[in-house]
């Protein structure tokens, strides 16, 4: 009797301009490692990682997409079926931040309507090269009503937290869909979470 090694399976997607660090973020999360050599992702990779949230084992299947411009139309066809999308920009690259709006539009056009989104300002360890301040990231996140976090795959800042928070948001949504009165408390919880950027998750 094959017992499943997880309770839920969430498909997540990483998108953003080329070179913002999508692959590094994924590598940090899945293997807890960092490599500074830049190898452009030419295609679609995925990795899995199981996390435990609220007593549930959640298997995250995270898809890493090629960021290069010429692949944009192709990568959008992978949006469908994603339950959560991380939009990544590089705080040292103005253009990558400006393009967030374009990526958001892409999501609107191609992803599931109820997809959970989150903006990540990556490379936040590189303070001396910063060109996009945190307030601008927060402002755009507020404008679109989505989550935001600054991360560093290199310094391992907020990586695990970001994934767990995104997963938790999806979990809330999954719970909302059940008409189980027990889940009502979780709904409240989610609203509380939306209002503050304080992390309440529990990634072990």
């Amino acid at each position: 009797m094959a017992k499943k090694t997880y309770d839920l399976l969430f498909k997540l997607l990483l998108i953003g301009d080329s070179g913002v660090g999508k692959t590094c973020i994924l590598f940090r999360f899945s293997d807890d490692a960092f490599t500074s050599t830049f190898i452009s992702t030419i295609g679609i990779d995925f990795k899995i990682k199981t996390v435990e949230l609220r007593g549930k084992k959640i298997k995250l299947q995270i898809w890493d997409t090629a960021g290069q411009e010429r692949f944009h139309t192709i990568t959008t066809s992978y949006y469908r079926g994603a339950m959560g999308i991380m939009l990544v920009y590089d705080i040292t690259n103005e253009k990558s931040f400006e393009n967030i709006v374009k990526w958001l539009r892409n999501i609107d056009e191609h992803a599931n309507e109820d997809v959970e989104r989150m903006i990540l300002g990556n490379k936040c360890d590189m303070t001396d090269k910063r060109v996009v301040n945190k307030e601008r990231g927060e402002a755009i996140a507020r404008e679109y009503g989505i989550r935001f976090m600054e991360t560093s795959a290199k310094a391992n800042i907020n990586i695990e937290k970001a994934f767990c928070e995104l997963a938790e948001a999806i979990l809330d949504k999954t719970a909302d869909n059940d008409n189980n009165p027990e889940n009502q408390s979780i709904v409240v919880d989610r609203k509380a979470q939306d209002n503050s950027s304080v992390y309440k998750g529990c990634c072990a």
Binding site: T5, D31, I44, D45, F46, K47, F71, T73, S77
Partner: protein, 844 residues
């Protein structure tokens, strides 16, 4: 294996191991995988105080190189290790079973009954090691890690060669948890009480108390297994094959248990006279699972007057089995008793709803009952008066059959008997049978066990219970049961999840692509271009690849002018494949590639297409095809051709697109020309050189792929002053290709209109005027006038009307149903339209 081969194989096997790891025995066996028999080489290896059984898959027999041997299983010889070599059972008499842990049961077969001797050595060695382990109760298996973790990183040949699928996540998870069991399990002692009594058809009387039998130990036992025989042997009971438990006896048993603890009945199984009840401490309820029973009737008609009943369950991590049996009676019938024993062993099967296991597939087995074996020297009155049991014990048939003959209860153990024979007494007394039959005393009632970590602390009979002609017997054991430490388990579980995640990430099949950018350089119309895309499988799993569509809307994996030699395929580890990618811009593709590249900047490397190379269960690789296109007259609009002011070669693609897009005609035509320069040149050449040539045009289009087309292309595109480089046939083909390459068909009349009016010449003329632009109309009539000339020369060139229209109808109209278009063209060939054409040509 003869000795020479065996020694050389041994040497090869030894190379697999490190210093200090000693290969004790190698043994050749096989496994049945599907319908295939596969060689397995088993090796028993010892290192320090621990040992393990290695099963090798042999890819080349006899193995000479290290690479011929692949470790398939590594089974530590510890408390979970069981080998069942009882030939005569199972589906094949050559089968033997290795059980490791709870889940892993490996079935092996001896290749040949002739190898009895080496089989003996193999089994003996294993048993010795099992014994050693159970005595030491400790072994350091750390050295096995080097071999076990290998499947995470090393190439498993069977998987790589696509013989077996890789383990799935779930089985890997189970395997890892199993492997790390020693980290989260401890052995906890449990007190097991086994009792057996042949009650000689007596119902339990009111005043009967079983305390003297069941509550004799100082501490309360954790588990009771009480087996009764002959609770009822009436003909009705036998015929009915009674299986309903006897609640009077169960109640009596429950009353008689040790008073120091709370008990509950776990399960009772009954068959006619035999009943087995398992009672457990209430506190143990949560530790027990997969509880199930089984019964086997033997003897005449298998009614169940003799046979066995059994109960199997899992307690914590240990599988336990209790069997109560009543074997054939009478002194001389020991062979029938042996057969009953065999039959119970063979037929008793426990099914917990998911898995069946037989008696031997348990870690700890207790077999009790009235086994009915007697003492052979029945006439010796001395037996009745002896007091030194050891002296007469060798007369016991069961001792002879089990210890001397090794016929029954092999691998089972029995404690030393220090009690009087339990049969046969005058009921109500402690006196030997005084009836006419004058039965000789015998140790009919016995208790055996099998399994590691079991210690017997008592083996007694109870003289005070005198109701039956048998005395009850009991055995008390300390059994060490593998138990999970929940805190440690949680930690290991988390780590195993991580390992499994890593395993899954590492076990993604991956294809290695030499280049993801393929540059075709400059591409020209009607020329073949080829590039090789080298893909390889450098991972340890088979790769199943396929080029897939970029999006859900279009079905093609690439532009239709690109051809991929292998759209899908399989690569086993270490293999590579050269996939050929061909580009050929034909008449259909010519306008498409111009559209495709319209937004590119001149001189820039442009992606012509992106291929998605998908690996099943793995990642997708994008392969970008770069190239530039040299536009040609083929693929441009008629309007564009009419507006060219200089050789086409001098225009950039972007300039041509902007002329093509000039729908408002801001750029002037060559007003006086009836047709574009290129069409005029080709028809003019044909008019002068081709009219008399037989089969100038053929329906089969024999010159479709002629290389001269390229020469004609250059001649046209360059406005060359050289002589025409083609032949009349290829000039004809080039003309057809220009028509076919037009972004829109020359004849813009719908199929529907032609289907209605194609039989009326007047209507056809009207359609030409109303449905076709002036430019198209002029060119159409110009070409038709040329076709008329061909028609005129039928006597020389053999081109009849039918052939002419068949060749030209599709290039001109491109309708699905060509018939109407052919009729339409026939109207013009059959009628005189010189005046009509003249009028149209005059229009501006």
């Amino acid at each position: 294996m003869n000795n020479v081969t065996k020694n050389s194989i041994l040497q090869t096997v030894e190379q697999k191991f490190r210093l200090g790891e000693v290969v004790l025995v190698i043994f050749e066996a096989y496994q049945i995988v599907g319908v295939e028999h596969q060689n397995r080489l088993l090796a028993i290896v010892k290192s320090g105080n621990s040992s393990a059984l290695f099963a090798f898959n042999v890819s080349n027999y006899p193995p000479v190189n290290l690479s011929d041997l692949h470790i398939e299983s590594v089974i530590p010889i510890n408390e979970t290790f069981l080998i069942d070599c009882s030939s005569g059972f199972g589906i094949s008499s050559y089968q033997f079973i290795i059980i490791s842990g709870n889940e892993q049961t490996l079935y092996y077969y001896y290749p040949d009954p002739e190898i009895f001797r080496s089989k003996e050595v193999f089994e003996r060695t294993l048993k010795k090691l099992i014994q050693e382990y159970s005595e030491e109760k400790h072994g350091d298996f750390q050295w096995l890690e080097a071999y076990k973790s290998s499947d995470l990183t090393d190439i498993d040949l069977n998987i790589a060669l696509n013989k077996f699928p890789p383990k799935n996540r779930e089985s890997k998870f189970r395997e890892e948890l199993e492997r790390r069991k020693p980290e989260y399990t401890i052995h906890e002692p449990y007190k097991i009480y086994c009792g057996t009594w042949n009650v000689n058809l007596n119902a339990p009387g009111e005043d009967l108390s079983l305390r003297e039998w069941l509550a004799t130990t100082e501490d309360a036992p954790d588990i009771y297994a009480i087996g009764l025989q002959e609770i009822d042997m009436s003909p009705e009971t036998i015929l009915r094959g009674e299986i309903r438990p006897d609640y009077n006896w169960i109640a009596k048993i429950m009353e008689g248990l040790h008073p120091a603890d709370q008990y509950e009945e776990l399960l009772t199984v009954r068959l006619v006279g035999m009943m087995l009840t398992i009672v457990i401490k209430k506190s143990l309820r949560g530790s027990i699972s997969k509880c199930c029973s089984s019964m086997v009737g033997t003897g005449t008609l298998k009614f169940g007057n003799k046979g066995g009943v059994g109960i199997s369950f899992q307690i914590n991590e240990t599988f336990m089995c209790f069997v109560n049996s009543h074997l054939a009676a009478h002194v001389q019938e020991f062979e029938r008793r042996n057969e009953d024993h065999d039959e119970i062993l063979r037929r008793m099967s426990f099914n917990d709803g998911f898995k069946s296991r037989n008696i031997l597939e348990h870690h700890q087995i207790f077999w009790i009952g009235d086994l009915n074996y007697r003492l052979t020297k029945t006439d010796d009155e001395g037996i009745r008066t002896f007091c030194d049991y050891e002296k007469i014990f060798y007369l016991d048939q069961l001792y002879i059959q089990r210890v001397q003959e090794k016929r029954v209860f092999r691998d089972f153990q029995e404690g030393k008997i220090n009690f009087r024979p339990t049969y046969k007494y005058d009921p109500g007394t402690d006196d030997w049978d005084s009836s006419e039959k004058n039965r000789a005393p015998a140790w009919c009632d016995r208790i055996f066990w099998k399994g590691a970590r079991i210690e017997q602390i008592a083996y007694e009979s109870v003289m005070q219970l005198r109701m039956s002609d048998h005395k009850p017997v009991y055995g008390v054991f300390i059994a060490y049961i593998l138990t999970r430490d929940e805190a440690k388990f949680k930690k290991v579980h988390e780590e195993v999840l991580k390992t499994v995640d890593k395993y899954e990430n590492d076990n993604q099949p991956q294809i290695t692509v030499a280049e993801t950018d393929i540059d075709f350089g400059m591409i020209r119309f009607h020329e073949h271009y080829s590039r090789e895309l080298l893909v390889a499988n450098n991972c340890h799993l088979p790769v199943d690849f396929e080029f897939i569509s970029k999006d859900d809307s279009s079905n093609g994996v690439c532009e239709d002018w690109i051809n991929i030699s292998h759209l899908k395929g399989e690569l086993i580890t270490g293999n590579s494949l050269s996939i050929r990618i061909d580009i050929f811009i034909d008449e259909k593709a010519a306008s498409k590639i111009i559209r495709r590249l319209r937004d590119s900047t001149p001189g820039e490397k442009v992606p012509l297409d992106i291929l998605v190379l998908h690996v099943k269960n793995g990642r997708d690789v994008f392969i970008t095809i770069f190239g530039e296109y040299q536009p040609s007259v083929f693929g441009l609009r008629l309007g564009t051709l009419m507006k060219l002011q200089k050789p086409l070669i001098e225009y950039t693609l972007q300039e041509l697109v902007s002329i093509d897009d000039d729908v408002n005609n801001t750029i002037p035509y060559h007003k006086d020309a009836k047709a574009p320069r290129e069409i005029w040149l080709l028809t003019d050449y044909l008019y002068r050189n081709g009219l008399l040539i037989p089969h100038l045009f053929t329906v089969q289009r024999k010159h479709k792929l002629s290389p001269r087309i390229c020469a004609i292309r250059d001649w046209l595109d360059e406005w060359s002053t050289e002589p025409f480089p083609g032949t009349p046939q290829t000039a004809g083909e080039a003309l057809l290709k220009i028509l076919e390459a037009l972004p829109e068909p020359l004849v813009t009349i719908t199929e529907h209109n032609l289907s209605i009016y194609a039989s009326y010449f007047d209507k056809c003329r009207e359609l030409v005027v109303n449905k076709m632009s002036l430019l198209n109309r002029k060119i159409f009539l110009y070409i038709l006038m040329f076709l008329k000339e061909i028609q005129k020369n039928y006597a020389n060139n053999g081109m009849d009307d039918r052939t002419i229209v068949k060749v030209f109808s599709h290039p001109m109209c491109r309708h699905q149903n060509d018939q109407h278009c052919q009729r339409f063209l026939l109207q013009f060939l059959a009628n005189d339209f010189k005046e009509f054409a003249k009028n149209e040509f005059a229009k501006q």
